[in-house]
């Protein structure tokens, strides 16, 4: 009996209780008609471990590089000072999910996700971003209905915070071969943000494209360390609302090219600083997304491998302030904005502080991003 129990215990240990998934992905994007950006490349690695159906852990690592144009205005071009304005960014995201199985018709999924994003944006306004995002979902056992509420609280430097609420509803139809997902994404930025501490800075900021500042006293305020290659994104609204629609169709056995599933996504409305806890991504850069369309195909290769190819197109509309004046070329300003000395050093002359009266121009950058995404998943 004892030996038998030992044997069974050993067998229990040998039982499969952990289900592992690893995926690698790469993205290449091109910005057409953008005044500031050329393109983006990104790579990512995701590892997840499920303990039966009860709980799962996920870690996602991501790195991307945004390639900016060397000059943002004719003024800057006249200076002929190319600046490495590109932004290199890395992010780590973790997620823990616990499933509670009810006695009625479905399961309740509670989830907590944590994101941290760091980059080399010299303004530091989009660097060191953290996001905490709980989610509660209910899914019927027959997988015909999924309801969820996702709350994300993002913390940016200078006490800026962004709150995002995402109620969503997913329904299956066509005997489970199709799935329609509706997601309402509501984003609200925090009030009363200032960047007056930039006055004390001697550092010349070079890549401020993604800097953003807000002030509750006016509809919009742009401030910060204007400098060579200066461009500060501004928001005329502190709230954004978008509707994400996603349709997935699973093919049967006789599909063309052995495609397993087709995914079509469409976005209406406006989205900014969005957090996606399905894709485990944070849009920390100050881009206002006004539409998105994507289409993807997946192939299941043997039992444990899957490939996804996705093509998408997003439209962004950014309103930015850029420096257009050469007022400061021959002057150096002190912290009070008073011209103090002359210098031949272009960088010294650009030590311009907010009090200096720079001529800026409000410019709307309305551009399209086309991207191609590949994901390879292995399960064991």
């Amino acid at each position: 009996m004892f030996i038998a129990i030992l044997f069974v215990s050993y067998e229990c240990l040998a039982e499969k209780t952990w289900y592992m998934t690893a995926s690698v992905n790469a993205l290449v994007g091109e910005y057409s008609e953008s005044q500031f950006k050329n393109g983006v490349t990104a790579t990512g690695l995701t590892l997840s471990a499920d303990y039966l159906e009860r709980m799962s852990f996920l870690v996602a690592l991501n790195g991307n590089n945004i390639d900016f144009k060397p000059f943002f205005s004719d003024f800057e071009k006249s200076l002929d000072q190319r600046v490495e304005a590109d932004i290199k960014q890395s992010s780590v995201a973790t997620k823990f999910t616990y499933n509670y199985f009810t006695n009625s018709s479905g399961k309740i999924m509670s989830q907590i996700a944590y994101h941290t994003v760091s980059n080399d944006d010299l303004t530091k306004n989009t660097h060191d971003v953290t996001v905490i995002a709980p989610r509660f979902s209910y899914q019927t056992y027959d997988d015909s209905l999924l309801m969820s509420l996702d709350v994300s609280q993002s913390s940016y430097p200078n006490d800026i915070s962004v709150t995002q609420l995402v109620p969503s509803l997913g329904v299956a139809f066509n005997s489970g071969f199709d799935w329609l997902d509706l997601k309402l994404v509501a984003v609200k930025l925090s009030d009363a943000i200032t960047t007056s501490n930039n006055n004390s800075s001697d550092v010349i900021s070079t890549a401020t494209y993604n800097a953003f500042t807000l002030n509750s006293s006016s509809q919009y305020t742009a401030s910060g360390s204007f400098s060579k290659n200066a461009s500060t994104t501004i928001f005329e609204n502190k709230e954004a609302l978008a509707l994400d629609l996603k349709w997935i169709h699973w093919f049967g056995n006789d599909s063309l090219l052995n495609v397993s599933s087709l995914h079509v996504g469409y976005m209406l409305g406006e989205k900014m600083f969005a957090v996606d806890n399905d894709a485990m991504s944070v849009s920390n850069l100050a881009d206002l997304q006004v539409s998105n369309f994507s289409v993807a195909l997946t192939w299941k290769i043997k039992r444990d491998y899957e490939v996804m190819l996705l093509w998408g197109q997003s439209v962004y509309k950014n309103t930015s302030l850029i420096v257009t004046s050469d007022v400061a070329v021959n002057d150096v300003f002190d912290n009070n904005g008073t011209a103090t000395d002359s210098s031949d050093d272009i960088f010294q002359t650009r030590r311009i502080l907010q009090t200096a009266e720079l001529q800026t121009e409000k410019r709307v950058d309305f551009y399209t991003q086309q991207f191609f995404y590949v994901n390879f998943t292995v399960k064991w």
């Binding site: 038998a4 129990i5 069974v8 215990s9 067998e11 229990c12 039982e15 499969k16 209780t17 289900y19 499920d50 039966l52 159906e53 199985f101 009810t102 006695n103 399961k107 056992y141 027959d142 997988d143 209905l145 509803l169 329904v171 509706l182 309402l184 609302l241 509707l243 049967g252 056995n253 006789d254 052995n258 209406l268 409305g269 043997k302 039992r303």
Partner: protein, 219 residues
Amino acid sequence: MIQKLVCFIILFINLMICQSLLAESLWDKYNQEIAKRKQQEIASVIKKQMKVVRSTDEEYGLYKTALSYYLQGDYNESIVTYKKLMDINPLALDVNLAITLPLMVQKRWREVRRYAERVISIAPWNYIAHIRLMMAEEAMRDWQALMSHSKQVAIRYPSQSGVFVYMARAAMWQGDVRAAREAYSQVLVRIPAHIEANRYVNKHAEIKDEKNFLNLKIN
């Protein structure tokens, strides 16, 4: 814009609720009520005898308690009680099989697979364990595993039509029309009026029957 979006979502939710209410017909409610009463009767009888049963044989008492919970629809308590039984006697095959019932209701297929495989590790060709494992493999869409598994079970239980149904579905989802048709033909030999098999065979009537196309060999 925002108002339009909100209106659209509210309309959509209403549509879904109406659809689900219509789907539950009067007869569904009637059948549920009858089943509920029967379960309650069984539960009350077991409850009365529980003290006597548990005082004489704790293991059997717990088994009946777990079954009672399952019949009453308290699947979580049923699973907890079955696990207590496993602590008492990990070799109890009926307990390892019984726990798969509430797990199947909750669609916890990985756990169904775990306990079915545990039974198979002790009693390699237990038919019920293999059927439940095949159910889990089908639910998890593990068609390769289901195909090779169902072939092995079909060799041991050639009279059972259910095994050939799983084999046919596995072949169908892998795009192997000939194997699927052959497996469904085997189903029709055993149950001529089988709807699913008839539908598939008639749809692929152009394919000629090939003897032993499935190539059932003992692994």
